[in-house]
Amino acid sequence: MHVLPYLVAAYVFLTGCYGLAASRNLIHAVGCLAVCQCATYVLLLAVGYRDGATAPVFSDVKPGSRPVVDPVVQALTLTDIVVGATVTALLLALVLQIAKRHGTIDPDELRELRG
């Protein structure tokens, strides 16, 4: 339990990398990149967790009555999620153009840029 969340994050990251390298379809590859990014969310939030603590929102918890988890990593993760969504969108837009110009989205068949 002490290291499980970290190991899961590392595993998810490497799995995503494998999928990215082995992908036969560029849309699938972009999806794998999104998987890689999930690893960063898990790692960040795991780092900020504190046993027995509550969410750092004080609308119904009296300040100081209970420990709270680290709010900074949550803010970082929020930023990270936006970054992920936008990168996915932009890469998908590029994949669509590749489909139009090359007639395929299989990376093995894209043979223009070599050497």
Partner: protein
Amino acid sequence: MNRLRLGLLAVGGAGLAALLVAACLDLPDFGGSRHPYGDRAVRASLARHIANTIASVNFDQRAYDTLGEMSILFAAVLGCVVLLREARDERRARPEPAEVVRPVRRYALLVLPVALLTGLYVIAHGQLSPGGGFQGGVVAATGLHLLYLGADHGALERVRPLGFFETADSLGVCAYLVLGAAGVLAGTAFLANTLLPYGTFDTLSSGGTVPLLNAAVGMEVASAVVVLLAHFLDQAVEIEEEPGR
């Protein structure tokens, strides 16, 4: 997959995996209680009468990061608009209205206002409860696209004047920057939250400039996601290549 890539992947993956696992074993135990920056952030948030510490971190303490974040969204949407423009050899086709089953249609029309209201509520309560400009913006914008299911593409286009949303997107960014620059003009610092009173703890107007920045982000995100989805939807149903290519 060819043999070279498999070999590289095995070597690189194994090396990186070993490194990451070794690092994980050196990390402080999960659930530890040492969070110096986090504790300071909570104190700073309470000092400025903001109930949701994450909103305080996002829109006050680290508001400059959020500026970068919304610029990324802005730039990505602008990039998608540019990349998904009609190329020289494409034209727009009127898609035939898709057949939608009646229960689906009714359900979609029912959920639509709920989604929009939820989005607005989540934006407005950003500094009080979980949620904020970003989450609410996405919910509202995605919800609007239920109209595609509920009615058809034509109806969606009528309630979705893209020019308006593109302008709103950039005005959101402008508003955020102007609020930030106001701090410099007042002689304090960029994005300083010292101009407005901090208000009463746990109310809608608490937190000085936080609600304003939050609203600017909400407007930006909602419009940006609408524009983004619109362009992908156009690609998926409207834009066609000229025959003969």
